[in-house]
């Protein structure tokens, strides 16, 4: 009897051990495909590492991936994405991709600054791109991909500054000369959006007041609703939110309280369900373009590291999304002002400030 029960336990243990061993043994026949291959230009393999936000963030991780997917379709490059579950993953993910022969490798988000700076010298033949990372110093195989958020914010400001006085254009526009801004955390990309927005509003109508609220969060939609409501109660009829998912709450507040909304990063007409004609446009950051262009340079063999690139209106790195449902009723005067502002910025006759 005694031996029987211990036999069963032993059997169960053995099964558990075998199950885990079987997993390991199966590895032997499969040769490790980690030998770095000499990559001729037609054989470029591009990859990215997400930050802990992961894919599905409808923001820069997804946008970077969209850029890679476009490169896969149009240039025939092989693409790969590794998601990071925790900050510890950054270095091992980048390391694995570099060891597996991927180049360029994009690190998405400023949290990977230290990691890229540390790993890049170990792989001199691999190119690294950092989204929203300003490298200082910058290694010869590293490219910082940054954006002039202020220029996109500026165009959004032109739309808001013009439209808020045109009470005939839409019943939701009140007679108060007030527009609103909702920010996530007070970090440089958001502050640049705000500075550009304020400058844009003032450039077309110095009398219009911009009221700003920082929620301290990129994820809390409820805070976005409250911030939106308070701005609308304060007389704002148009609210620009640069606050990630918090901004989705602001969009809802605008819809519920009969105000107008301007989105950020991606074309939020497509990412917020049922937003319809509440949204005027979005101040977009073309992370996808920056990624695609960098991969294209790798394919063409013209890729050059050792610099921080800054993508603005001129490089098609930031811009204004289509007006969508507003396209028909947007006054021509507003559209013309936006086009003129864009031309001025590209020509360099207007320089948009980075800070207020």
């Amino acid at each position: 009897m005694r031996s029987k029960s211990s036999k069963i336990v032993a059997l169960l243990l053995a099964l558990a051990v075998m199950a885990s061993l079987a997993v390991g043994c199966a590895k032997t026949p499969a040769p490790a495909p980690t030998t770095p291959a000499e990559t001729p230009t037609t054989d470029v393999k591009a990859a990215m590492v997400t930050d802990v936000g992961g894919l599905g963030d409808k923001s820069f991780n997804d946008l970077s991936y969209a850029g890679l997917q476009r490169a896969e379709k149009e240039l025939g490059v092989k693409i790969q994405v590794l998601e990071s579950k925790e900050p510890t993953d950054y270095e091992s993910n980048i390391n694995q991709l570099a060891t597996a022969g991927y180049s360029p490798i994009f690190a998405v988000g400023f949290l990977m600054t230290d990691t890229v700076t540390k790993v890049a010298p170990q792989f001199p033949d691999v190119n690294f791109g950092g989204i929203d990372i300003f490298f200082d110093p910058v290694d010869s195989n590293v490219i910082g991909l940054n954006f002039k958020e202020q220029e996109a914010g500026y165009l959004a400001g032109v739309v808001a500054g013009k439209l808020t006085t045109m009470t005939d254009a839409d019943p939701r526009i009140n007679d108060k000369k007030v527009v609103g801004f909702v920010g996530g955390m007070e970090i440089p990309p958001v502050q640049k959006f705000e500075a550009g927005f304020v400058a844009g509003v003032k450039s077309v109508n110095p009398d219009v007041q911009v009221k700003s609220v920082y929620t301290g969060s990129f994820t809390d939609a409820q805070k976005g609703i409250e911030a939106g409501k308070s701005l609308i109660e304060g007389g704002a009829d148009i609210v620009f939110a640069a606050a990630g998912a918090t901004g989705n709450g602001t969009a809802k507040a605008c819809k519920d309280n009969k105000a107008l909304f301007i989105g950020v990063d991606s074309d939020q007409y497509n990412t917020i369900d049922g937003i319809g004609d509440t949204i005027l446009t979005s101040a977009v950051k073309r992370v996808d373009n920056a990624v695609f262009m960098t991969v294209k340079e790798a394919v063409d063999g013209t890729i050059k590291g050792g610099e921080n690139k800054i993508f603005g209106l001129a490089e098609d790195g930031v811009g204004l999304a289509p007006y969508h449902d507003w396209d028909a009723k947007m006054p021509q005067e507003v559209k013309d002002s936006v086009d003129k502002a864009k031309a001025d910025v590209i020509a360099g006759t207007v320089t948009v400030p980075e800070s207020k």
Binding site: L15, A16, A26, Q96, D114, I187
Partner: protein, 381 residues
Amino acid sequence: MPEQMADTPPNRAASTVDEKQFALEQERFQRGVRMATPFISVAIAVLVGSLVILASGKDPVAAFSAMFFGAFGGARQIGETLLRATPLVFTGLAVAYGFRSGLFNIGAEGQLFLGGLAAAFMGVALGGLSWMLSVPLILLSAMIAGAAWAFIPALMKAKLGAHEVITTMMFTYIGRYLVSWIVTGPFKAEGAIPQSPMIPASSQLPRISDVFTFIQPNRAHFGILIGVVAAIVVWWILKYTVLGYEARAVGFNPTAAETGGISVAATTIKSLCISGALAGLAGATEVMGVHYRLFDQFSSGFGFTGIAVALLAKNNPLGVVAAAILFGSLSAGAGTMQLEAGVSQKVISIIQGTIIFLVGAETIVSWAVSRVRRARGGADV
């Protein structure tokens, strides 16, 4: 220990030799099942993960072999596994120590943040000192910070009866947002990024392969060795000291312990503070061995994963080390699995969840095992 205390034969009335022997055997069998549950749970979880991978149209064998290779395939891979196991050893020990004294320290995450904060601050402050002095001082201050963060909930539990699940959880939020504010404001490094300054080399825990150069380069740092030492110390405290005896006694039956002359209030405070100190070490080793600075998201919920580690280890301090290495290997292998087999890393979360569920619902496993056994044993008795 609670298990041993519970080991009285279930059937005292057994009069005949046969019945006695049956009861004994039954009990021995139950103990066997209890010991085997973690292993069975892991096996079932791997099976569930395989089904999910199969359902998504991928090859589970390829996926798991890639994962296994990514976790144990070489010095670099083993280093990754140990690196990820390190914080889980400490948080697992923290939660396990709490459980052993009847306390559910759900707030290890908050104590970890405070430990990390103390380590980053002291690491920078003690910059000029030799590492022989600064490293122990930093570890000590992280333990004090973690213990202090647990002390207030402990006091509230001991004096007011406020449940530690609520209070330690709430203190986690306070701790996290405190760190969030500190790295964006008063303790922010120069530059745009919200993070603390980097701690100097003398305050860092070096990588093992940097010191013992015959080991191939990998990221495992000395924190894992400190973790193993901590596990042995905790095991020793629980088994051989008055402190540990009192903790176990209160955990097993507070009323009996009080009657026996043990102060439940004092023991509660001591136990939760020790638990907090262990969690504080998790934050310190992450700062000193991995990131070399503090920032908002430096922990991805190690305090909460520590609960799963403690459960899987059945609150045995030495088992915690093994369970932490298992969870570390899942995390380390996930990237390779995605890279080579194209399987989403979310599968790893499914496996972890299944393990936790099965270990938590131990009775399900032992019920299933005894059903199988009865069906087979019936013929032979």
